[in-house]
């Protein structure tokens, strides 16, 4: 096989792996390829409806726009880029640390620079494909209603996908050089998580501090932002102009993205082998625990202690918790502001907190209930399964109480009634998330946490709808109590349906 044929063959292999990994993610590892593809097509078709609702009103937009609209559009594109960067960093760390074929590749007589170049290209393609898939319904609607100029949107999505992948590889390689192989994985995971939401949270913080609202658009549409916005011919607006149909700029952006990716491939692919070898040489740093006497207590206490210890020592969870805390930063700031003013917007804090609690509880419940690394040990222990479950649910409730109690306590100073409603809603949202995890539990390793959503789509949606439902109900209790009754009943109905179709019913 000549060099080109060899490269093509490896590229095919990489893309096949990427496709199967993606398919496994979509189907939860079950062999239902046809059903998954059909389901995906139906989902994509349905997605055109919300896409229509969101973008239909913008079909007549043309450059030049007013500064506020340009700012909102540019910020949205930048947010998409940040999310793709976050996903790409995750893919790169997986290639460095988790791909089982690295030993095989490293020991083969193939030219590693070429092989890793293809692998970088595969990461870029995967990230871009996912973005294209999600943006297609929106662009379809715009093209259908506004004409072919909107097709330029595909080029913009591809450009930001490729550039995000290039940036992710550079960031990870830089981290690797700065902090070494041992810590890169954890830090990259945290950076990836923070980047994804950091931009939105930063906008919210600015909005809270400046305008007393949690709306991220408040600052972007303000006069201050319009005043400091660059001139219309600035490079900053290129992505926005390209997405509005400026073909020339779109092609330029695409070319820049390709050049960026090419440079990253040229610079980093030759060093990839060295990086992978260094990771392999540091499989897991020896971490010394603290020697101390065995503690007494009940069997459930032993279980709870173990769960808390594992949660504390879980780097991924650390980054996830950090994310949840970051999401709480804007409402916390708003709470702080409300002490000095008479902001009625404080009511908005409750749904944000309840939503965050529900989401965090879902993750914690998965880790404690499904993510049991020694299921045989726990199942052969001399205590009834109900007591094991109870201990694990208690851990979730206690962890949520620890995280959210300070915020609720602060809220109690500003508005005692709202604090009570918030506390009750947090408890219900947490219990609901734990219940969903119990009904849909599927034994897995804790390391599979990132893929927990793929084990059951129904569970994922039930968990999300329950968090949103209880958040909305809590907000309505404070504003329109009658509507809260309807919202609460609908959320209960969602949970009842989830229970009815769950495999663990009864």
């Amino acid at each position: 096989m000549n060099s080109t044929a060899h490269l093509t063959w490896f590229a095919r292999h990489e893309f096949r792996l990427a496709w199967r990994e993606w398919l496994a993610m979509m189907t939860g590892g079950r062999r239902r390829r046809n059903r998954a593809v059909i389901g995906l097509l139906i989902f994509a078709a349905i997605l055109h409806l919300p896409a229509y609702a969101v973008v239909a009103r913008y079909v007549d937009l043309r450059f030049p726009l007013d500064p506020s609209s340009l700012l909102v559009l540019t910020a949205t594109i930048f947010l998409s880029w940040a999310l793709m960067l976050s996903q790409a960093i995750e893919s790169v760390t997986r290639v460095f640390y988790a791909r089982a074929d690295l030993d095989l590749i490293m020991s083969s007589p193939a030219k590693l620079t070429n092989i890793f170049s293809i692998r970088i290209a595969a990461i870029a393609l995967t990230v871009s494909s996912m973005a294209l898939l999600l943006s297609t319904p929106f662009i379809d609607v715009l093209v259908y209603l506004g004409g072919a100029r909107w097709l330029a949107g595909f080029g913009v999505v591809l450009a930001i996908g490729l550039s995000a992948a290039a940036a992710a590889i550079a960031v990870t390689a830089l981290l690797f050089r700065l902090i070494g192989p041992g810590r890169t994985r954890l830090v990259a995971q945290i950076v990836s998580a923070v980047i994804g939401a950091g931009f939105v949270i930063a906008l919210q913080v600015v909005a809270v501090l400046s305008y007393g609202t949690l709306s991220r658009f408040a600052f972007l549409t303000s006069e201050t932002a319009a005043r400091i916005a660059p001139a219309p011919d600035s490079l900053v607006w290129w992505p926005a102009r390209a997405s509005l149909g400026d073909l020339e700029i779109m092609l330029l952006l695409l070319a820049i993205a390709f050049v960026l990716l090419g440079v990253v491939m040229a610079v980093f692919a030759p060093r990839f082998a060295d990086t992978v070898a260094r990771v392999a040489a540091n499989p897991a740093a020896v971490t010394q625990g603290r020697a101390r006497a065995f503690r007494s207590g009940s069997r459930q206490q032993a279980l709870r202690r173990k769960e808390f210890l594992l949660l504390r020592r879980d780097p991924w969870l650390l980054s996830q918790s950090l994310m949840q805390m970051l999401y709480l930063l804007p409402p916390a700031l708003m709470l702080w502001r409300s002490f000095s003013g008479t902001s009625t917007a404080i009511v908005l804090i409750t749904p944000v907190i309840v939503m965050a609690a529900g989401q965090l509880a879902g993750g914690l419940a998965w880790l404690t209930i499904s993510g049991e690394d020694a299921p045989d040990l726990v199942a052969t222990a001399p205590l009834p399964p109900s007591r094991v479950t109870r201990a694990k649910v208690e851990v979730v409730l206690l962890a949520i109480a620890t995280v959210f109690a300070p915020l609720v306590a602060a809220l109690a100073f500003a508005s005692p009634g709202q604090a009570v409603v918030t506390a009750i809603a947090i408890t219900i949202a947490t219990a609901s998330a734990a219940a969903v995890q119990l009904w849909f539990r599927a034994q897995a390793k804790r390391s599979q946490f990132r893929r927990r959503q793929t084990s059951s789509r129904i569970a994922t949606f039930a968990e999300a709808f329950s968090s949103i439902g209880w958040a909305a109900t809590a907000a309505l209790v404070l504003t329109i109590p009658t509507a809260a009754l309807v919202s609460g009943l609908l959320t209960l109905l969602t949970l009842a349906i989830a229970w009815k179709i769950s495999p663990r019913r009864g």
Binding site: R295, A302, T380
Partner: protein, 250 residues
């Protein structure tokens, strides 16, 4: 033999997946016995032992552990039993001592007793230098030893091991075998599946051969030889002959 005198008495144990995995199996293991359960891949050994350990619910049959009906009163049965699987399941983020503390806590053992016992076990398995290191960097052999120590820390009267020597080096395997024999001498009952027939030949008081979910031969090595009319053959030869005969009959 009455069930009171048996460490394990299994009657009519049945489990079906796509096909019968365990087919109305009767099995009796005496107190203080080292019993080796042999069989080809997919014979039903692990399924049998998982049902005994309470990890799988049988479709039919009964399981009695030292006179306790394990299906009616699983908690009491589990209190005196330990299970070690071929794939060591331990917590990466805990140290061996923390893992054993957790196991002792689950079995409700007094911490003063269990701490001493845990340290002794880990030291006897050659893990002394790693007592306070997190298990995430451990080799499979080291993990298997931690799992075994976990099974022994609550001083069970019946130990069930599924391929416990897989992945262990010669020295570690010797440590494990020594520890198990020591337990048997102390009156504990050990039931073990293994594909290393030499281990069964040298360690087991009695050997059971299972194929297609049924016990096709059982006894001491001498009894098995007698049953097969081959006084000078090795266990390996007998095992292959038994399994071949069973396969031909099927």
């Amino acid at each position: 033999m009455t069930s009171e005198l048996s460490a394990l008495a299994v009657r009519g144990l049945t489990k079906r997946f796509d096909r019968p995995a365990v087919d109305a199996l009767d099995l009796t293991v005496r107190v203080g016995e080292f019993y080796a359960l042999l069989g080809p891949n997919g014979a039903g050994k692990t399924t049998t032992l998982r049902m005994v350990a309470g990890l799988l619910r049988p479709d039919a049959g009964s399981v009695s552990i030292l006179g306790i009906d394990a299906l009616a009163d699983p908690v009491s049965a589990k209190q005196i039993m330990a299970w070690v699987s071929d794939e060591p399941m331990i917590y990466d983020k805990l140290t061996p001592l923390e893992y054993l503390e957790f196991v002792a806590g689950l079995w409700g053992i007094d911490p003063r007793t269990s701490e001493k016992s845990a340290r002794n076990l880990l030291v006897s398995l050659g893990l002394e230098p790693h007592l306070n290191e997190r298990c995430e960097g451990f080799s499979k052999g080291m993990r298997q030893k931690v799992a075994l120590a976990g099974a022994l820390v609550h001083d069970p009267r019946l130990i069930i091991l599924d391929e416990p020597l897989t992945g262990l080096d010669a020295l570690s395997a010797r440590h494990v075998k020594g520890l198990l024999q020591e337990r048997v001498r102390a009156g504990c009952t050990v039931i073990m599946t293994t594909h290393i027939l030499e281990v069964a030949e040298r360690m087991a008081d009695r050997i059971g051969v299972i194929a297609a979910g049924r016990l096709i031969a059982e006894g001491t090595l001498a009894e098995l030889r007698e049953q097969n009319g081959r006084n000078d053959t090795t266990l390996e030869d007998m095992f292959i002959a038994l399994v071949d005969t069973e396969a031909a009959a099927a």
